[in-house]
């Protein structure tokens, strides 16, 4: 690989060693988790200033635990480990995450990590869209201090996150919703090993009368700088009986919240049209899991 300014490749055993390397190289130190997207960053010319790579796989942060509150996922958990974790279970509210994990090929599942996938802030990834549809919080760690943030606050621009230099995502927490809830994710892809043209996830929770108490609709695949939440679609659903006609109106409303881009995978017009189609399918799938 062509990291023309690379001076050091660190594989630290402790957080203090991470800090030492970050202190030395500042913003030109790049944290490496699973490493499955570094080519993507390099191809976009984003690594030309990198002077140090810091491989954090020895620091731990792995494992999946199901608790009364929900699911806790160590940031260095690979997609394969997460997919096979008993804690993922059959709960309908986690449907979006389970759906999203079925798409990547084996080699990516074995390498890519949940935390790395989020920190990359790539608008074409699937897991961020799925997790943004759930009540997802992150705990981060830097030099012994910790903080919590909503997933939405991690994203600060195209391939940009809001982490301080040397601040690592330690854990991803998914809070279990109250009542009847379900979610789903669906992706449009050109081949079985490509980034999304468009992806969409939907979370819905209903009360005893079948009215929508809570909804989250999210999209990715080049419809914004990062995964996007469509509050316009959610407003259509809230307080209503979830009929197919209503789901279609919600899906059509995503247009107000997304800015589809044009690239070699698809035109902006095609992305917009497919964003509506795939949002509708994700909503229908989530609804079917409620019943």
């Amino acid at each position: 690989m062509a990291l023309v300014k690379l001076k050091e490749f660190c594989v630290p055993d402790t957080p203090e060693q991470v800090d030492a390397c970050v202190d030395k190289y500042g913003e030109n130190a790049l944290i490496l988790a699973g490493g499955s997207f570094i080519h993507g960053l390099e191809a976009r010319g984003l690594l030309s200033e990198v002077e140090a790579l810091i491989d954090i796989r020895k620091l731990g942060f792995a494992g999946v635990a199901a608790t009364a509150e929900g699911l806790r996922i160590g940031a260095m958990t690979t997609f394969a480990q997460l997919e096979q974790a008993p804690g993922l279970g059959r709960a309908p509210w986690l449907g979006a995450l389970k759906d999203a994990l079925t798409y990547p090929p084996m080699q990516i599942k074995n390498a890519a990590t949940v935390g790395g996938c989020l920190a990359a802030a790539c608008p074409f990834f699937d897991i961020p869209t799925a997790l943004l549809a759930l009540d997802c919080k992150l705990s981060t760690s830097k030099a012994g201090s910790k903080r919590e943030m909503d997933l939405a606050d991690l994203f600060s621009g195209l391939f940009e996150n809001s982490l301080a230099p040397g601040e690592l995502i330690a854990e991803v927490k998914l809070n279990k919703p109250a009542g009847r809830a379900a979610s789903a994710f669906i992706k449009l892809e050109g081949t079985a090993n490509d980034l999304a043209i468009v992806n969409a996830a939907a979370f819905i929770a209903v009360d005893g009368a079948g009215q929508c108490q809570s909804a989250r609709v999210t999209l990715g695949g080049g419809v914004g700088d990062n995964a996007v939440r469509s509050t316009s679609a959610e407003k259509v659903l809230l307080g209503q009986k979830l009929t197919e006609e209503l789901l279609q109106r919600a899906a059509d409303a995503v247009e107000q919240d997304i800015q589809p881009m044009a690239d070699h995978r698809a035109s902006a017009a095609y992305r917009l049209a497919m964003a509506k189609v795939f949002t509708k399918r994700a909503l229908s799938q989530a609804l079917s899991r409620l019943n």
Binding site: L6, L53, A111
Partner: protein
């Protein structure tokens, strides 16, 4: 800038000085001359470079050699024995699942993990399982048949776990 690393490949430990940003693929091929592992797209899209790292199929073009230290790496050269090739290789030969052969080594390494995880896959599961490996000759049909044949014959345990 070079770094001295120690790599365990097919049971042998090698001390090698590598560029810090050298990929595992380039070290396998260019330093260790294990050229069974192929360089295709060199960007995680084609699967030709698939090897096993701690028993898991990985794109060796996407892993830095420095990151591969302390892990058990198995390449196509590490399958089978001097006397007998691996049953997955035998199945590919028997079914004629090879044309130009460029994808074959990666395809076999992927198929090994596929059957390790799921010894009796359906055709859909096989096709989904090899989705990270491209073949531009066979149309996949004979590769899928070979994996079915290997599944029918049973396979020895994966190495490197």
């Amino acid at each position: 800038m070079k770094q001295l690393i120690s790599l365990e490949v097919n049971g042998d430990v090698h001390e090698i000085a590598v560029e810090a940003d050298a990929t595992l693929l380039s070290v396998l091929r260019d330093n260790l001359e294990l050229i069974g592992t192929k360089r295709g797209c060199d960007s995680g899209g084609c699967g030709c470079c698939t090897v096993h790292v701690d028993g898991k199929a990985m794109y060796s073009c996407m892993m830095y050699a420095v990151s591969a230290q302390g892990r058990k790496i198995t390449t196509i050269e590490g399958l089978g024995t001097e006397e007998r090739i691996d049953p997955m290789q035998e199945a590919f030969v028997k079914e004629g699942a090879v044309q130009c052969g460029y994808c074959t080594c990666g395809m076999i390494m992927t198929a090994k993990q596929l059957l390790h995880d799921n010894p009796h896959p359906s055709e859909d599961e096989i096709r989904h399982g090899i989705a990270g490996n491209l073949c531009r000759c066979t149309g996949y049909h004979k590769i899928v048949e070979a994996i079915k044949t290997a599944a029918g014959n049973g396979l020895p345990h994966m190495k490197g776990q």
